[in-house]
Amino acid sequence: MKGEMELQKILIVDDEEILRMLIEDTLEDLEDVQIHTAEHGREALDKLAADRFDLVILDYMMPEMTGIEVLANLEESLKAATPILMLTAKAQDTDRIKAQEAGVRYFMPKPFSPMELLQIVEDILREPN
């Protein structure tokens, strides 16, 4: 265990509790990583405003505020500094393009492979910011 200063933070935003649990459990073995969750867009925005995250795993279809809307409400500098991974059941090309336009760097369609997700997350976290 390293010092708390070097912990990397991941925010999981999904309205489905089971999926939050699945992602959380997938990533639990990562070292030096702190996992936060948000149930909906509003909570995600609050957490993003309060803290700096090394990765945001964002669901697309959420009530009240979709993932795209969350990004639209996110400050531009923060968006540029934070890698966004979008997990979505909407896996058509148009959705992908829409997500990219909104500032999403990584895109994973549901259903997804947890191991693949783990791999991608590890890669992202290893990348120098």
């Binding site: 699945l22 997938t26 009530p63 909407k90 549901k110 492979s113």
Partner: protein
């Protein structure tokens, strides 16, 4: 003000005042002058006296001085003392003189002189004289001489010279004074003269003014008088003064005017008189002329008129020759006879009366008269009778003038006959014209037939007639009953004969009814005519009967011609009918087409639209032939369209002359329900000519919505399936790839299972719906108790649900015939919805009640509610409440559609009411099975005071079967039963609802048990009075707790015991009006 006042004074007082004022001025001026002259004279003489006196004194002074010197010298020269004394005396005298001199009014020079003199005198007296005396006494004359030479002598001489000089001057002054006084008196004289002259002048002016004031008007008056006398106009202005002259002027003017007026009057009268005289002369002349004219008139009259004179009694006194000529009577045969000699054959009594009246009142009577001549021939006379009146107004004779109008009368009668014939011809012509018009413009066949037969009857005087249009069998008749028509047609021969003979006439003796009142036997003529088409087809038949009059050849020809015209008209009528039918049919077709159709002419005018289009765009009334300019129809249409600019462009393109292909466009019509419309445009050509453009609007809302729904379905399915799939796949993968503790594995497996189950449910839902839609769903109806079913479903939610489900059951008859599993599916679905859409811990209330023939199940939540505009769509597939709160809750969007499908398949209805933010009530109704046998033996126990107010009891029981049992029993007795299984909720419910009784099971939930509920109820004053019945498997363990309990039933007990207990309780409270807890009764009841 004062000026005008003054000017208005009379001349007398005016000039009296002026002269008085002048007189006063003259007197005052003379007086002043006199006083002034006197004072001037007195002043001058006073000055002269003073001057004389002064001169005298100076003279005296000079004399005294001389005397002094003289005495002094005398002494000196003579040494005479006497002389010296005298000298001194003289000096004293000098003092006296000086004193008197000094008393006078002196000029400065004179004062100087006086001072010098005094000084000198003192010096002389005190120095020189004593010195001189001394020298004399010493006889030193030398010194005396010196002394005198030293100056005294010179000074004395100076003094003397001055005095002398002064005297001369005084004289001079005196002279001047005299001259001045002379000048003054001269001046006074001049002044007095000037004053007199001025006065004279003033008087002259005044006199001149007086003269002017008086004389000028007098001269004018004189002139005016002259002109008045001469009869000319008096040009005399008004004088604006009020004085005598002014008044004189006024009076004169008045006089002059009145004279002139009188004169004019006289002139007018004179002229009138002249005119009258002229007229008289004229009249006389005319009279003379008239007389001669009358004579010639008489002459002329005698030439052509019969003239007779009758006496006042009506006896002929004179006749001229014409009378004889007309009547054949000689003069001797008439004169002396009364007028009644001639019989007036044509006069009615009224005319005779009129004549009598006119005659007696002196008026002229004139009329046409028929009498007999002497030889008996009728004679028409135009007769004029004029009475002659004497001066008293009495009639003294009559003059009678008559002309022979016999031939005129005959001509007149002939003319009248001709006119009548012309009139008849005209009427016939008019009828003909009318018929032409009618057959041209009447488009209704029946009307046509009626008009034609009317015409025939009037024109040719048919007594009875029939006109029949063969096609359609339309007939018009006169005098023939309508039902006889067929008989006519079927009658042998007529139509057959007509094939060869267009028209024919038959003659037969008239029947009795046709004959009417005629005493002689008449013939009846029947006219048959066929109306033939160009193809020799009989179009119509005319039959007419005329009694007693045959048909002339002319008439036959006429009728034949008429029939040809009618043939044309009938053919036209048929053609019109066909066209009209085709047109109406087309119109009906167009109007019954669901698509909106409009036809736009080349100039943009809309000349046709169908009903569907009118409804689509809510155009007002449209009558055929209406034309609507583009700025009206297009703007009206575009105003309702969402894509108005695009549609305008489409219209403009399609209506353009170079538009040859067809075009299509989709647009939407706004409003409460958005409509989607597909419009296509086709140019319409007739041969090569473009007539306009046809637009067809097709409502594709349904297709559009289906499309929308399909893509929605894809999206929903995609999302709804992917989420549970993610879990299943994800957790499986974790299980496969990670090592983990067994409990975690267990948890994962459970999750996988649940999610897989969810997936299955979803798929089942899809499949269910698919089945239902395709009609392959199988239902297994069976007899069910809905209360039981509902309680059973609630049982499923008792454990682990966040929401409390309250069940209020007042259905007496809950028996239905339905598929059990499907109904459970519906209930589960509805409960799940109610729970899902009531986030937090809302209460779900389920109510069961009967309505005539049906049972109603209501599920009411206090959740999010549904926006009003979405309620209607909710029972459609894939419709979910479209707001964020509902989105979070998720769902397939199929539940309500499935419910609707199921309920409707069980012959039920389903619906919901909702208010956003307040909650939703979903209800469904199912027809109940009528109970086969009534339970009459239980009727007495049945509590039914009235249907609306059933006694309400609450069962707090967590055992499903037991509460069902109790509930059935109580409902059968007419109670309304509310089910609870949680003590806390039950207590809260009890606070809200006044229950007649509460049945409590002691073994309840985990947190609170039945005892707790009883305590809670009894410790709250609002519920303390509610009777409680304990239903428990336990024995009466703790008697101390029982004091508030009304009844203790130990399970198992027959349900009838509970209901009868409740019955007792209600009877007791009903009787006394309050709830009682008698210990003894409790004991007594225990025995049961």
């Amino acid at each position: 003000m004062s000026r005008t006042k003054f000017a208005n004074l009379s001349i007398r007082s005016k000039y009296f005042r002026i002269i008085t004022a002048m007189f006063i001025v003259v007197i005052l001026t003379a007086g002043c002058l006199f006083i002034y002259i006197n004072s001037q004279q007195a002043k001058l003489s006073r000055e002269r006296e003073t001057l004389q006196y002064k001169a005298q004194t100076i003279n005296e002074l000079a004399a005294t001085l001389n005397d002094v010197f003289f005495r002094a010298r005398g002494y000196i020269s003579l040494k005479n003392d006497n002389e010296l004394q005298l000298a001194y005396a003289a000096l004293e005298k000098l003092d006296v003189v000086l004193a008197s001199y000094s008393q006078l009014k002196l000029s400065p020079e004179e004062t100087q002189f006086l001072g010098d003199l005094r000084a000198f005198k003192t010096e002389y007296e005190n120095e020189m004289l004593p010195q001189a005396i001394a020298y004399v006494q010493t006889d030193d004359y030398e010194s005396v001489r010196e002394l005198s030479e030293s100056g005294s002598t010179a000074r004395v001489n100076d003094f003397l010279a001055y005095t002398k000089n002064y005297k001369v001057r005084a004289d001079q002054v005196q002279n001047d004074m005299v001259q001045q006084s002379v000048r003054q008196s001269n001046m006074f004289t001049v002044t007095a003269f000037a004053l007199s002259a001025l006065l004279l002048l003033l008087f002259m002016i005044i006199i001149w003014r007086i003269l002017r004031t008086l004389v000028n008007p007098i001269i004018k008056l004189e002139t005016a008088t002259h002109s008045l006398a001469a009869g000319e106009a008096v040009l005399l202005g008004e004088l604006n003064t009020q004085d005598e002259i002014g008044r004189l002027y006024g009076a004169f003017l008045h006089m002059a005017r009145s004279i002139q007026d009188k004169e004019e009057e006289l002139t007018v009268q004179n002229e009138e008189l002249q005119a009258q005289q002229d007229e008289l002369q004229d009249q006389q002349f005319r009279l003379e002329r008239s007389l001669s004219e009358i004579e010639s008139i008489m002459e002329a009259l005698n030439q052509s008129f019969a003239v007779a004179i009758l006496s006042a009694k009506g006896v002929f006194t004179y006749i001229n020759e014409k009378v004889t000529e007309y009547t054949g009577y000689r003069a001797a045969e008439i004169v002396g006879h009364p007028y009644r000699l001639f019989e007036m054959r044509n006069l009615s009594s009224a005319q005779l009366e009129d004549m009598q009246r006119k005659r007696e009142t002196g008026m002229v009577w004139s009329d046409e008269l028929l009498i007999d001549a002497k030889n008996g021939t009728p004679l028409w006379l135009h007769l004029t009778l004029k009475p002659y009146l004497n001066d008293e107004g009495g009639i003294y004779q009559y003059i009678l003038i008559a002309s022979n109008i016999t031939s005129l009368k005959h001509a007149q009668q002939e003319l009248a006959a001709t006119l009548t014939r012309t009139e008849e011809t005209k009427t016939m012509l008019e009828r003909s014209n009318q018929l032409n018009h009618d057959i041209t413009y009447t488009l209704d066949k029946q009307q046509f037939a009626g008009k034609f037969i009317d015409f025939m009857n009037r024109q040719y005087a048919f007594d009875s007639s029939l006109f029949l249009l063969i096609r359609g069998g339309i007939a018009a008749t006169k005098g023939i009953p309508a039902e006889m028509v067929k008989q006519y047609l079927d009658g042998e021969g007529m139509l057959y004969r007509m094939q060869t003979e267009k028209s024919y006439v038959t003659v037969r003796p008239a029947s009795r009814s046709e004959q009417g009142i005629s005493p002689v036997q008449l013939d009846a003529y029947d006219y048959y005519a066929a109306v033939m088409s160009a193809d020799n087809e009989i179009l119509a038949v005319f039959c007419g009967t005329r009694v007693g009059a045959s048909f002339s050849e002319e008439e036959t020809k006429d009728i034949q011609g008429l029939m040809n015209r009618v043939a044309l008209a009938i053919e036209r009528l048929y053609m019109y009918e066909e066209i009209e039918h085709a047109r109406t049919l087309n119109l009906d077709i167009i109007n019954n087409v669901a698509e909106g159709i409009q036809f736009i002419e080349m100039d943009g005018t809309m000349s046709q639209m169908n009903k569907a289009l009118r409804q689509m765009f809510s155009y007002g009334k449209w009558n055929e032939g209406n034309r609507m300019p583009p700025d009206r129809w297009l703007e009206h249409l575009l105003g309702q369209v969402g894509e108005s600019e695009a549609l305008r462009h489409f219209y403009n393109q399609a209506m353009a002359a170079d538009f040859t292909n067809s075009g299509t466009m989709k647009y939407s019509i706004g409003g409460e329900m958005l409509k989607h419309v597909d419009v296509y445009a086709i140019p319409v050509f007739r041969r090569e000519e473009r007539l306009g453009t046809l637009f067809v609007h097709r409502d594709i809302t349904r297709e559009y919505e289906l499309d929308q729904m399909k893509s929605e379905l894809v999206s929903t399915v995609s999302h709804e399936l992917r989420t549970p799939l993610s879990s299943v796949l994800g957790f499986t993968e974790l299980l496969l790839n990670k090592t983990m503790k067994p409990d975690k594995q267990q948890k994962y497996l459970q999750t996988i299972h649940r999610e897989a189950q969810r997936l299955t449910d979803l798929i089942n839902d899809f499949l269910d719906l698919q089945r239902m839609e395709s009609g392959t769903q199988q239902y297994n109806p069976e007899k069910l108790n809905l209360s039981e079913l509902v309680l059973g479903v609630i049982e499923q939610y008792k454990l682990g649900s966040t929401h409390h489900i309250l069940f209020e059951d007042e259905a007496e008859n809950a028996a239905v015939e339905a598929d059990r599993n499907k109904l459970i599916q519906v209930l589960t679905n509805l409960f799940s919805n109610a729970i899902k859409f009531s986030p937090g811990r809302g209460e779900i209330k389920v109510m069961l009640r009967n309505e005539p023939g049906v049972i109603v199940v209501e599920i009411r939540d206090k959740g999010l509610g549904i926006p009003q505009d979405q309620i209607g769509q909710l029972f459609q597939k894939f419709r979910r409440v479209d707001n964020s709160a509902a989105k979070r809750i998720g769902g397939t969007g199929l539940g309500l559609a499935i419910c609707k499908e199921i309920i409707e398949k069980q012959n039920g209805t389903i619906g919901l009411e909702s208010a956003e933010g307040e909650g939703t009530t979903v209800w469904f109704r199912l027809p109940v099975l009528q109970p086969q046998t009534a339970r009459p033996e239980e009727e007495p126990y049945k509590w039914s005071p009235d249907k609306d107010e059933k006694p309400s009891v609450m069962i707090v029981e967590d055992d499903y079967s037991l509460s069902l049992l109790l509930s059935e029993e109580l409902k059968a007795k007419g109670f309304k039963v509310t089910h609870h299984y949680q003590p806390q909720q039950a207590f809260e419910q009890a606070l809200r609802t006044p229950f007649q009784a509460v049945i409590v099971d002691l073994m309840l939930g985990e947190e609170l048990d039945g005892w707790d509920l009883i305590m809670m109820l009894k410790h709250d004053e609002r519920t303390a009075d509610v009777p409680i019945v304990i239903s428990s498997a336990l024995d009466q363990a703790d008697q101390s707790l029982l004091e508030n309990v009304r009844r203790y039933l130990t399970k198992p007990y027959p349900p009838g015991e509970l209901s009868s207990t409740l019955q007792d309780i209600l009877n007791a409270s009903g009787a006394s009006g309050e709830v009682l807890f008698p210990e003894t009764r409790l004991d007594g009841k225990d025995r049961n």
